[in-house]
């Protein structure tokens, strides 16, 4: 069986759902080894075993987080060599993709990003050109590096869980020689809402909110949703740039996308048109968003959204 290596960066006290998804995909491809950077708690080690990881590799150095990407790629390349992995899976975050990029060069391995499914033979499925095409791609090299989007499979533990053996791998001495150093870091205040990229439901607002994101945030909280925004709203400073959905912002594929006061020009459409269900509220009947909405309401969002929020609260009791 093929050897599959999963990279998990700073798992903390419990593995994220996206990490469990990677482990689930890995098991469908072959025997799983895991490379973990950062603390490895007993709980996390136990979960790795439960998800079928036979081996856990840890770096000899504890300072990989002090640098941008390059030393992590060097560590991972060393683990790939040691474990004989033919497939390496990483999460599809900006950093995950960059580690994948450098790892690919170090291993002379083809890299495929934004993967949504992997066949048993390593063929990867992804969507391109802002969701207007789906493609399949395959690496032609001995090793394949894939960065896989979140929410693509349901996490499932192994039928025969085991305990993973832990090994330490030397990080090459020159790994940080040509790396940018992180000189300071501030945590942002957590919103308490789900992560926009991974959320099952997204409620997004645009120009029509006229500076007041209240109705969007209240509906989002009633639904347990993430809050998104059009570029017009983030450029106006009504909400943080992190919330931008679209060509120059985030691409989301939730089960439900509720668009409020967004005209739905191509820039915005590029970021959300692969959502399963799209609901649009806009007072302008000519808004392009109505061309792609499964359910559209021509009306005043300041009436419609609060009414929907109240109704949801009532039904959820």
């Amino acid at each position: 069986m093929a050897n599959v290596l999963v990279f998990i960066d700073n798992p903390g006290q419990a593995l994220k759902k996206s990490s469990l998804e990677l482990l689930t995909i890995a098991r469908s491809l072959g025997e799983t080894a895991v490379a973990v950077n950062g603390e490895l708690s007993d709980d996390v080690a136990g979960t790795l075993g439960a998800y079928g990881a036979a081996t856990v590799f840890r770096p000899s150095a504890a300072d990989l987080d002090d640098y941008l990407v390059a030393p992590k790629a060097a560590f991972l390349a060393a683990v790939a060599d040691k474990s004989g992995a033919t497939t390496v899976l990483l999460e599809n975050s900006p950093e995950g993709k960059e580690i994948a990029a450098r790892l690919g060069i170090r291993l002379s391995a083809g890299v495929i990003t934004d993967v949504v499914a992997v066949d048993a033979d390593g063929t990867a499925h992804k969507s391109v050109l802002a969701g207007s095409y789906t493609t399949t791609a395959k690496a032609t090299t001995a090793v394949t590096v894939l960065s896989v989007k979140a929410n693509t499979v349901d996490p499932e533990p192994a039928t025969a869980p085991g305990a993973a053996e832990t090994l330490t791998v030397d990080v090459p001495a020159d790994a940080a020689a040509a790396a940018a150093r992180i000189t300071s870091r501030e945590q942002k205040v957590a919103s308490g809402r789900p992560d926009l990229t991974d959320a099952r439901i997204v409620v997004a607002g645009g120009r029509g909110l006229d500076g007041d994101f209240g109705p969007v945030e209240e509906l989002a909280d009633a639904l347990g949703a993430a809050v998104g925004a059009s570029r017009a709203a983030t450029d106006a400073g009504w909400i943080n740039h992190d919330a931008q959905v679209g060509q120059t912002g985030k691409t989301v594929s939730p089960q439900l996308y509720i668009s409020a006061g967004i005209s739905g020009a191509i820039q915005q459409k590029a970021g959300m048109q692969t959502a399963k269900v799209i609901v649009a509220v806009n007072k302008d009947a000519e808004s392009p968003v109505f061309e792609i909405a499964d359910f559209g309401i021509i009306g005043d969002l300041f009436q419609v959204l609060p009414q929907a929020t109240e109704e949801i609260k009532k039904r959820k009791g």
Binding site: L68, A70, A73, P94, K97, E98, A101, R102, G104, I105, R106, S108, A109, G110, V111, I112, T113, T123, V128, L129, S132, Y133, T134, T136, A137, A139, T140, A178, A180, R181, I182, T183, S184, R185, E186, K188, H241, Q247, T248, I266, Q267, A270, T274, V277, A285, F290, I292, F295, G296, I297, I298, G299, D300, Q303, V304, Q307, A308, E311, I312, R315
Partner: protein, 270 residues
């Protein structure tokens, strides 16, 4: 007076995202009619121009070289960059480059950057945060790895001083400042600046600026290292997603909020 800089800005000629875009041919590559300078590269060019201007601009010997790899049409991205203010243009073009993936592209670009640094070294390679067509964001990191340089990616602010570059990066959960020694590969986000438009003077001045054409032979790359032959990934199939169609559209008559919730309940989304 601060030291002068030699900056290479990578610019890409991409299909205009305002129109429908298509994949075609055996390699499922992007059709490049209706192409423009990638919007995200304008931020990199602006960042380069600001760094050069702070050091006395072209008159003081600062160089902002717009480098584009691509077929004949890519020269338009370079011309636009010259109009905006780049001091010179370099067009890496060769039939063998067609169909290059990120690995092959970064190999060719790394060789081109080395070539451009043969007489006087390049201090900075600046790029956008992604291309608006391939959207993989792989090339800046792969270029840095191939050149053995630090990468400073997704910079939302940038300073260069005393042979060092420092930048601010904003992620969802945290912000950080990073520092690296020059030379370095830096990619910038669309939050870093407001790119300028070419003005009349710039358009006239661009006509006098030179564009150098480089082939693979010029930069010492063999045709087997790039294009389909040199790529490490292959797109095996591409299918156009059926266009979304409009569903039910209603006009609010005072109860649309309730109807919205009815719809969500029917779709089992509550």
């Amino acid at each position: 007076m601060e030291e002068t800089l030699k900056i290479v800005v990578l610019v890409k000629h991409v299909p205009d995202a305002q129109f429908d875009r298509h994949l075609s041919g055996e390699g499922h590559t992007t059709d490049r009619d209706e192409s423009i300078l990638s919007e995200l590269d304008e931020y990199a060019l602006e960042a380069a121009l600001q760094l050069a201007e702070a050091r006395g601009g072209a008159k003081a010997g600062n160089k902002v070289i717009a480098l584009s790899m691509g077929p004949a049409g890519a020269v338009n991205a370079i011309k636009k960059s010259l109009q905006i203010g780049a001091t010179e243009g370099v067009h890496l073009t060769d039939g063998a480059l067609a169909g290059s993936d990120a690995a092959a592209t970064s190999l060719a670009l790394a060789a081109a950057v080395r070539h451009l640094g043969a007489d006087t070294p390049v201090d900075l390679v600046l790029t956008g945060m992604a291309s608006t067509d391939g959207e993989t964001s792989l090339v800046p990191a792969q270029l840095a790895e191939r050149l053995g340089l630090p990468q400073v990616t997704f910079a939302s602010s940038l300073e260069v001083d005393g042979g060092r570059v420092s930048a601010r990066r904003d992620a969802d959960t945290h912000s950080e400042t990073v520092e690296a020694s020059l030379p370095a590969v830096v990619s910038v986000t669309d939050q870093i600046n407001e790119p300028r438009y070419p003005n009349f003077k710039g358009i006239i001045a661009a006509k006098r600026k030179s564009i150098t054409t480089l082939s693979l032979a010029d930069i010492g790359v063999d045709s087997s290292q790039v294009g389909h032959a040199g790529s490490w990934t292959r797109v095996t199939a591409a299918e156009e997603r059926p266009p979304r169609t409009a569903g039910t559209i209603i006009t609010d008559e005072g109860d649309a909020g309730i109807k919205l919730v009815d719809f969500l309940a029917a779709q089992k989304l509550l």
